[in-house]
Symmetry: C2
Subunit: 461 residues, 2 copies
């Protein structure tokens, strides 16, 4: 039984699906969930015949994986949400926690995927293994849509099943000997994949940081851009803009400084631009808008938040041929080798969807969906502002970063959940500098956003 319990806790340690409704058949995927029993994304039941086993192999558990913290952000939230639903089984819980898209995918895009599906039943339309790096027309369309005039060609684009997956593949390329820096707070996958690859030391409970990772503090005091004069040199610098979770976007001047910093140190920037299309301000949407960036940066991005492809799975990574390791060998060469050995290409149907996304009709449909979520963001920002809170982010990203000075993120999270039945994400879960903040996601149906905001107003009036 102990093992069963152990597994049931840990197998659901999803870093992103924790709040996603079970994705069962055609059951509606809504961000409002009512019955507690539908919440768990993974049900771990005892096997029919429960065989008591004490046999253990002699294979040692990977010490790097053992370093990962059990109190990982998202499972903890899932547990608290589940407990909340047990306590209030009739509560109309609204999830503005995980950044899971909620709006249907525009017809022009799904029709292209349906068409590709049907074609696979024909001799003419059937295709088997494609290039692991992606289909040529899609690579070309990504290059010309997002990197026109930036000197990035289709041969620099590697199509993938998502930015999160590419981040781990990049870590496999880098290996265990590199040092790395992250924005603090930041998307947990950067740190976790680094721990898994053995790049870090142990987790230090007192300061809530892993040893050997350089945490670059991003707070209102520095405009959410790190003070590079205090940042130690590392081999790799993860940098996400517009940022998850703070919602802030780096300016051209800031990114120019970042590129210079990397060049002076001989570092590689892994630039995550998954929210670039949410940009309202005139900031760069790609690191490659900064002169010289191709020699020190690669960039990963995704269709997830643009086209609602969180379930369809499609992203890409740009590795410029100019980016070289210290021995002069191209990073792109090793990334390609890893992609070919550890991956087999994104689904051909998803790739057909991606190509449709980048048609004039698809682009305009995506912009409409993004516009919808941006209206949600404004509603959330206005709500918290009107209640006297300092809010950050929002303008260039679908996340609102609300400041509760002097309070614990987890306390605020619990207060909001307890009193409004709305799930948010405690800022400290993204890193120690997130303490005192709560992230509110703007992904949601409009009526849920409005309802959540009504409840926020009642709570904090």
């Amino acid at each position: 039984m102990a093992l069963q319990n152990h597994l049931s806790t840990t197998i659901s340690s999803s870093s992103s699906a924790f709040l996603a409704p079970s994705n069962l058949g055609s059951s509606r995927a809504s961000n409002v969930s009512v019955p507690a029993k539908r919440i768990g994304t993974v049900r771990c039941v005892a096997a029919p015949h429960e065989e008591k086993t004490t046999y253990k192999t002699k294979v040692s558990r990977n010490a790097n994986i053992a370093k990962l913290q059990a109190g990982y952000l998202f499972p903890e939230i899932a547990r608290r949400k589940a407990a909340h639903l047990q306590k209030y089984p009739d509560a109309k819980v609204i999830s503005l926690g995980i950044g899971d898209t909620t709006e249907p995918i525009p017809d022009a895009i799904t029709s292209a995927m349906a068409k590709r599906s049907y074609a696979l039943s024909t001799l003419e339309g059937y295709s088997g293994y494609g290039a692991e790096q992606g289909e040529k027309p899609l690579r070309a369309a990504i290059a010309s849509t997002f990197y026109r005039d930036l000197g990035i060609g289709e041969e620099d684009i590697f199509v993938s099943d998502g930015a999160k997956c590419d981040i781990s593949r990049l870590q496999v390329v880098f290996g265990s000997q590199v040092t790395m820096a992250v924005q603090d707070p930041s998307y947990p996958a950067y740190v976790d994949s680094s721990v898994i690859m053995g790049q870090t030391g142990l987790y230090q409970q007192d300061i809530e940081k892993y040893a050997k990772i350089e945490y670059m503090k991003c707070t209102p005091e520095n405009g959410f851009f790190p003070d590079l004069s205090t940042v130690a040199r590392t081999d790799i610098i993860f940098f996400c803009s517009p940022n998850n979770p703070t919602g802030s976007a780096a300016t051209r001047e800031q990114l120019t400084r970042l590129v210079k910093f990397a060049k002076d140190n001989g570092s590689i920037i892994v630039y995550d631009s998954a929210y670039a299309m949410y940009m309202s301000d005139d900031n760069p949407q790609s690191i490659f808008e900064i002169p010289g960036a191709k020699e020190v940066a690669l960039e990963t991005s995704s269709f997830s938040k643009y086209a609602g492809f969180t379930g369809v799975r499609l992203g890409w990574t740009v590795v410029p041929k100019e980016l070289l390791f210290s021995d002069g060998s191209p990073v792109a060469k090793d990334f390609s080798r890893i992609v070919c050995t550890c991956f087999n290409g994104a689904s051909n149907i998803s790739q057909a969807g991606g190509l449709a996304c980048l048609s004039p009709e698809g682009l305009s449909a995506m912009r409409e969906v993004i516009g919808f979520y941006k209206e949600n963001t404004e509603i959330i920002m206005d709500t918290f502002s009107s209640l006297g809170f300092k809010v950050y982010g929002g303008k260039n990203a679908p996340y609102v970063w609300v400041h509760f000075p002097g309070r614990s993120s987890w306390d605020v999270f619990s207060e909001i959940l307890e009193k409004t039945h709305v799930v948010t994400t405690p800022g400290s879960g993204f890193g120690p500098a997130g303490e005192g903040f709560v992230r509110v996601s703007a992904f949601g149906h409009r009526n849920n956003i409005l309802e959540a905001c009504r409840r926020f107003k009642q709570l904090y009036k």
Copy 2:
């Protein structure tokens, strides 16, 4: 220019797409290719403005990746095929090299995928992030279809984007400190992923093996099953049955010995059953048919060769809760953590296809396609047998392993290509014990298989 050339050679180092026709739009994916310029899966052209750069970062190249051999099997074949097409631009080349499926996917399956695509445009049918471990109905269907009465439940099934991808994720779970054994010859991804993770020493040119890997010789002399009394203990044992490339399948008695060997040594078997549905003999189709296997084995498999999903991307891995590391912690727990951190689930559309594959109609359609390829196999076997060759495999797998005693695999490969314009795979590319063999794949349109066999008969009559 040197860099450009370097990249153009290496970026195409695909381990599987090398012979696949470019998967461009709806262009026909056939295993007959004529014009040389359509061969390359990745075209690496000079950037419009060729900027001479000498800047190098200070990031060291991962030493493990540097260990990988440049003379990797598949790019070498691709180069030879390309050279052949330059020499004979009008040759009707037939590719029986890579195991890429060629027959259209049955309607019942593609319709389900099209339906799921369209549904994503509706409020009711939209779904975002699903559980990284896969959708519950698909996990349940895999468990009940392939593991009924074996004590494997849906909670033990992890749906993925393919077995090759899961092999690398498993290596990330195991880490750099484990030792590993592979069948010799074997599918190159096992060895390469091990090298990448740092589990091996350097490649030893003289014996054509990496240091620290235990190569388990599988030849006609031992019935393609290793003499376990001569095999050193390792932490991990990769074992593929029905085997790629030899086409042989292990018997129940042999697998019972393998499981006992693992149990005596405290090893973990990574059992690859991607060709199990091709089995004609009464051999186990899953390692879990062997009593006690759940304590020492996990199993990876795929829809690729059953449903023609090589491009759709869908597979699964079974990690029984009974499988424990030496500290008593479940392997499934760490695999789940890696799946959640390094992966985000298979495409929901592909999963809808997988579920349709396992419906009664889908199963019968898959069996029909498999039956078709098995007829191809017989045609190839009969051809080589009638020419006096010793042929192995074929009966339980879509690969025919033809013996050319005393000859070099590469010489035979070249002879066949030069004189018949048919691409095969030299056995030595799968490991030193493959020397003297050539693998002929049965994936192909019937007319191409018949034409290839006509040419073989002319050559070796």
